[in-house]
């Protein structure tokens, strides 16, 4: 038996024993997500047990070095762990912007002290992070951030406003892009700063989305004093760090779309339920053709993700196809939800209350939420700009 096979057996046995049965049931709604943090409550005792056990092994951040709370696994072993988690149907023990986005950037750019201070708390789900990039005047043009950070002794004094800060109202810390040199060119005067949300002068105001949920906020900074040691990378070198984080974010958004699509009811059977069958096919031929198109595209995207992953595993590096993921995944998921709404017809027009089944309301809310996917993390137009420039080499 090879070492990797032994590892698989060991993982399998451990998961069987460690993962509470209720943590293997399909997720139903947001209460099943565990985000951790000082203010994060567990919806069930099993959620806490599952997180603690996984964190103890470092498997909430499988590839991070063990001294920072990670699992110290190589890529092959991390893949085995992921497969086994999936095989057993285990829910994610922890969802975390810290682990997904900030952590990898800290590993690459952070000081030893920053890594020791922040990474283990992220991996254990003790501290919840949010991302303070966008501002009223800096969306797609992110490098235009105006929030000021002025050095005063061994502290920065931060003044300004962030917007669209997801989960800021429940987060403990925020990683921010701030302007430290207003006289430099716009990409060269930005720094990457970690700020404790409990600092005095930080204020958060939730914003409601068209889907009814309120997952993001305006975040205000007034004379907030931040220790200078919380600056990641070099002063005025924040753009490099920011870009690294963005790449992780885009990969993440495409993977989440992919995962969600595989949980949903297939459009074909949904249509059979709502519009009926004629002979062996769905009664509405136009709808049927749209569904087939969307299903073929979903298959193509899934295969493209696999093709890219295999190329990386074989040591050939990610191919240019990687740039297409965020764009294709979000555009496709929007299209699929449009079709789902078309299938459910009047039943997809309900907001709440009587007359609409829970899955109908869920489809409608998911459709409304999906409109944001091609805006957040760099809009579709920005993705097209990136492909045109970096992959196709078209001139500015």
């Amino acid at each position: 038996m090879t070492e990797i096979m032994r590892f698989r057996e060991e993982v399998r046995e451990w998961l069987q024993a460690a993962c509470p049965v209720s943590m293997r049931a399909p997720m139903v709604d947001e209460r099943d997500d565990v985000w951790g943090g000082r203010r994060g409550a567990f919806a069930s005792p099993d959620q806490r047990v599952w997180l603690e056990r996984m964190a103890e092994r470092g498997w909430t951040a499988p590839t991070w070095p063990t001294q920072y709370g990670g699992g110290g696994l190589d890529a092959a072993r991390a893949a085995v762990l992921e497969e086994e988690l999936k095989r057993l149907g285990c829910r994610p023990a922890l969802k975390s912007l810290g682990v997904w986005m900030l952590g990898p950037a800290l590993l690459a750019f952070g000081s030893e002290e920053q890594k020791r201070e922040h990474l283990p708390k992220m991996a254990r789900g003790e501290i919840r992070w949010c991302q303070g990039y966008s501002e009223p005047g800096a969306g797609s043009d992110l490098a235009n951030v105006q929030t000021r950070a002025v050095l005063d002794g061994d502290e920065y004094v931060v003044d300004g406003q962030k917007v669209w800060t997801s989960h800021a109202h429940v987060a403990d810390w925020i990683f921010c892009l701030v302007r430290t040199d207003p006289s430099a060119k716009k990409h060269e005067g930005i720094s990457f700063l970690l700020i404790d949300m409990t600092s005095s002068g930080v204020r958060v105001k939730p914003i409601k989305l068209i889907s009814g949920a309120s997952p993001f906020c305006e975040t205000f900074f007034e004379g907030v004093r931040v220790p200078a040691k919380n600056l990641v990378g070099r002063p005025n070198g924040g753009w490099t760090v920011a870009k690294a984080v963005l790449e992780h974010e885009r990969a993440l958004i495409s993977r989440m779309r992919d995962a969600r699509a595989s949980e949903d009811e297939p459009l074909g059977s949904m249509a059979a339920r709502y519009v009926g069958r004629e002979g062996s096919g769905i009664a509405d031929p136009v709808l049927r053709d749209r569904i087939a198109q969307a299903d073929i595209d979903a298959l193509a995207l899934k295969l493209t993700l696999r093709r890219s992953a295999e190329s990386v595993e074989a040591g050939r590096g990610p191919g240019p196809e990687t740039s297409t993921f965020k764009l294709c995944a979000t555009e496709l998921s929007k299209r699929r939800l449009e079709i789902a709404v078309a299938i459910k017809g009047f039943q997809a027009l309900g907001w709440s209350g009587d007359g609409y089944a829970a899955d109908e309301i869920a489809t409608t809310r998911a459709w409304l939420r999906s409109r944001a996917s091609s805006i957040e993390g760099g809009s579709s137009e920005i993705q097209l700009n990136i492909i045109a420039k970096r992959v196709l080499g078209l001139p500015d």
Partner: protein, 377 residues
Amino acid sequence: MSFVLTEDQESIRRSAKKLVEERAPIAQLRALRDTNDPLGYSRDLWKQMAELGFAGMTLPETYGGAGLGLTELGLVLEECGRRLVAGPLFASLLLGGGAIDLAGSESQKEHWLPRIARGEAIVALAHEEGRRHSLYEVAAHAAPVGDGWAISGEKTMVVDGHVADAIVVVARTSSGGRDGLTLFLVPRDAHGLDVQRRATIDSRNIAFVRLGGVHAASDSVVGIVGRGADVLDRVLDRATIGLSAEMLGGMQEAFEQTIAYLKVRNQFGVPIGSFQALKHRAAQLFCEIELVRSLVAAALRAADAGSDDVALLASAAKARASDVFVHVANEAVQMHGGIGVTDELDIGLFLKRARVTEMMLGAAAHHRDRFARLSGY
């Protein structure tokens, strides 16, 4: 199944690329077209292909083939697609030869497969009849006579029919839709067989075939009488996947030529590739092509693995390849401006090939319908 090419596959791709680049410039297709060449393909190139083992690539070694997979052949077809090669490789190996390989009798195989592999014989397949691809609507019929059959009917879109040494003909031997079809191997010189070459927009070699009571001996049946559709389905799945690989090469080339042009053509004092209206469309095309590439690669590998989803992947690949090739070619012409609609520039040839391959073996809507059926809706 792995998407990463093995060393051997890389080397096949390289030699195909080299051959096609050196021996099959697009000028060759033009010359064949403009001189109204009676064969319609380059003998010289075909000989080279046979020498490199391409002509019998997927045939078993016992019959002189190379015993390789569709994945390997797909690499060759993709390179051929890049230069719009109009050789008999696709039709002879995947259509006519494919039927003999899959269902032929021992003596049919012994006679034809080694010749196909050496590039000495070309075997076409005559299955289409109507205005568009429709597999089981066959009016051509074969009636039993004496020791064999008498076949009558008309066939269209017979790829390389005019240069074929034999044609596998699909005819009805009893009523019914999918049931009752039989394949017959008819030699080119059979009495009553009339083959007329058709001049298509893309200079691919297409023929119209008329059968007026052609006599076929009983041992000319390929497979089992009345069960031809089982063979046809499998042959056409493989051919559909091969054709999609060829189309992938075509769209990739048209796309690359267009990107190159966007960088050199100046208007308003800047390269036209700096205009966002064109950039975004170019980036969209790039994404579309990458998706097709994945479907084609998966379909080729599924065919080699003999997995259950070959038909599903064949239809997914052809549906997407059809739409995207046409879209890429249309955009390529538009982004070239006036020069794009001239015969002087190669781009127009890709537009024409795109339309022909789009309809061959079923256009996008046909394959989406099949995909939906196979998916249970």
